[in-house]
């Protein structure tokens, strides 16, 4: 049986190149003169205008790669962009003869290699486009299925979250007498692809993260009767709180 979990067309290299385009494009638009200096071009005349155009191009390509489920054409457009960049940098090199231009050319060549590789890789993909990922968030609880299902029936908030997103819940006996596997399965397909995922994560509305937090707490309550709290994390496990921890020392005011 082929396991259909987190399977999609776009791979990490394509995503990396998408974010790379967004980053470079943003720099070219926001710090145009600095970028001109960096590649050894002049900061007056036509160079900044060209730099801004190239930045707009990069940004468009980045957004295209990140939002499309199978961005083959957008990846090839990066290859074409590399060729154009090399031509322009060649012209700058002939005119200004600066070491920085050679360094910039070396960098474009370096990124052109994965661009070509990934474009060819995606070109070989055929069949229906797989944009959504099936995500299973699972947790194993050291109790018989009947008890876990009973606790689930009582967990109104968690059930409401699951129903709101049309996710499917299953309970299965874990092999080797390890209790019960509670799995929540849903299709992850945000409207703007990876950009949408990033926005969801930043705003704390990412379903996978919320479920991971809630299932951990659910397991704690079923197995131990309480949500584990520490001095640094007094509210218990919440990914959103991981980066704004208090010091691990007792707090004067606590809520029970």
């Amino acid at each position: 049986m082929e396991l259909d979990v987190r399977v999609r067309d776009k791979d990490p290299l394509a995503r990396f190149l998408g974010w790379f385009s967004v980053g470079l494009g943003t720099a070219q638009l926001a710090a145009t003169k600095a970028m001109c200096l960096l590649v050894g071009a002049r900061t007056d005349g036509a160079a900044p205008r060209v730099m801004r155009l190239l930045g707009a191009r990069e940004l468009t390509q980045g957004v295209g790669i990140l939002t499309r489920p199978r961005p083959t054409a957008w990846l090839w457009s990066r290859v074409a962009g590399d060729a154009l960049d090399l031509g322009l940098l060649g012209a700058v090199a002939v005119r200004n003869r600066k070491a920085r231009t050679a360094f910039a050319i070396a960098n474009v060549v370096a990124v052109a290699v994965p661009d070509v590789y990934e474009s060819r890789f995606l070109s070989r993909r055929s069949g229906p486009v797989r944009s959504a990922m099936t995500i299973h968030k699972g947790v194993t609880i050291n109790s018989p299925a009947a008890e876990v299902e009973q606790a689930w029936a009582a967990a109104a908030d968690l059930r409401a979250l699951v129903e709101e997103h049309g996710a499917r819940v299953s309970f299965a006996a874990a092999p080797g007498d390890r209790g019960t596997e509670l799995a929540i399965e849903f299709e992850h397909d945000p409207p703007a692809g990876d950009l949408g995922t990033a926005v969801q994560k930043l705003t704390g509305n990412d379903l996978a993260t919320r479920l991971a937090d809630d299932l951990r707490r659910f397991k704690q309550v079923v197995e131990t009767g309480e949500v584990t709290r520490s001095d640094g994390t007094p509210d218990g496990h919440l990914l959103a709180n991981h980066l704004r921890q208090r010091a691990a020392q007792p707090q004067a005011e606590v809520t029970r």
Partner: protein
């Protein structure tokens, strides 16, 4: 209350902080009577374990008296004298049922952080960075003990603090290191690091049937204390030789030790170019560990032998000799100690006189002198081997 706080890299201060309170029904508050500074506390203070925050209360080796308990703690009474194991365990999950208590699935409220670094999370640990939960530690006047119905071991009033304090961590840790070696009688065991854990590992290896035990360190006073207290122990000072694996080969008939215990961990010292390489990479944060002791343990071990790792590592190590491990059929066993599993049997051995862990204590200070204790221990001043703090 007064508490030993981490205040930045290489900086520890005893500060006034709020008293701990019961947060959950299965909590207890313990008034500390004795607490110790552990070698792994140095890794935190020296800044090699990520996710420390200024103000974190340190300390995971402690004991004391129960002064308050939640409704869910049925097995303890106020006034009970208890030793508290350093990992926090719920007692109900799959790992706890199998006595793998340092792998408790429920006690790290920062589990996701740990999963990012290690793949899966471990149990929560007192005073041991936010990766392992962000729990305030026990180098303080009071501590909150979660799941107090599972961890704390009641001890008789007749036993002095120092006799039982080390059941909280280092004695079980050393013992587990020796137990990992699968000793059946007649083995040669080599132990890297003559700190308290290494000394207890060496003593435990004899208890479990090893015929020869060789302890390796660079400080003569630590090796001397070990020889004076562990009968039959052989020692090597690695600063006096150019290759520990070669020396071990020569004193074991060319075979190498049957089992090698790494009781050093991520701040290993040595001389030579590989050590310089480790130091530079660690300083540049290109790796979190200095792995000289572990590499030597692997290279020294006899074919098909066991490498037991109880020294603490945090993240990533470069130049790991996996080819030696694979081709020579070595078994690596490792772990934070499942203290709960060992406390009662080791307490019995202490009561029966088989082990007397008090010999490692070299310094007794008040809690307010904690910073001085850290200095003494870290820089091995005044022949320091173990510091016990009294609040």
């Amino acid at each position: 209350m007064r508490a030993t706080c981490w205040t930045g890299r290489n900086s520890v201060e005893v500060q006034d902080v709020p008293d701990p309170q019961i947060l959950n029904d299965r909590d207890a508050i313990v008034r500390i009577t004795s607490t110790a500074i552990c070698g792994s506390d140095l890794h935190l203070v020296d800044g090699y374990v990520p996710t420390m925050k200024r103000g974190d209360v340190l300390g995971h080796e402690f004991m004391g008296e129960v002064v308050e308990k939640g409704r869910g703690v049925g097995n303890l009474e106020v006034g009970d004298r208890v030793v508290v194991p350093f990992p926090i365990a719920c007692g109900a999950c799959w790992a706890c049922e199998r006595e793998l208590t340092s792998l408790c699935e429920n006690t790290n409220p920062n589990a996701r952080l740990a999963e990012k670094l290690w793949g899966h999370s471990t149990a929560g640990i007192f005073g041991y960075s936010h990766l392992t939960g962000g729990f305030a530690g026990g180098q303080a006047e009071y501590v909150r003990v979660p799941f107090a119905d599972v961890g704390p071991l009641k001890v008789d009033d007749g036993l002095a603090d120092e006799t039982v304090l080390f059941l909280s961590d280092i004695l079980p840790t050393g013992y587990m290191g020796a137990e990992f070696c699968d000793l059946r009688g007649g083995e040669i065991v080599a132990v890297w690091g003559a700190g308290p854990v290494g000394q207890f590992a060496a003593a435990s290896a004899f208890l479990l049937g090893a015929e020869r035990v060789i302890l390796i360190d660079r400080f003569d006073y630590r090796l001397r204390i070990a020889r004076e207290n562990v009968d039959g122990l052989e020692t090597l000072n690695y600063e006096d030789m150019d290759s520990v694996p070669e020396a071990l080969k020569e004193v074991t008939g060319g075979r190498g030790p049957d089992a090698c215990i790494d009781a050093v961990g991520l701040e290993a010292h040595h001389h030579g170019p590989l050590y310089a390489y480790d130091r530079v990479k660690q300083a540049l944060r290109q790796q979190t560990e200095r792995g000289i002791a572990l590499r030597e343990a692997i290279m020294s071990c006899r074919n098909g032998g066991v490498v037991s790792v109880v020294g603490v590592y945090g993240g990533l190590l470069d130049k790991f000799p996996i080819g030696s491990v694979m081709n020579r059929g070595l078994t690596i066993r490792a772990g934070q100690c499942h203290v709960h599993r060992y406390m009662k049997p080791l307490l019995e051995r202490i009561v029966n006189g088989e082990i007397d862990p008090t010999f490692i204590v070299t310094h007794r200070l008040s809690l307010d002198e904690a910073a001085k204790g850290y200095e003494l221990f870290k820089h091995k001043q005044d022949d320091c081997l173990k510091v016990v703090l009294k609040p």
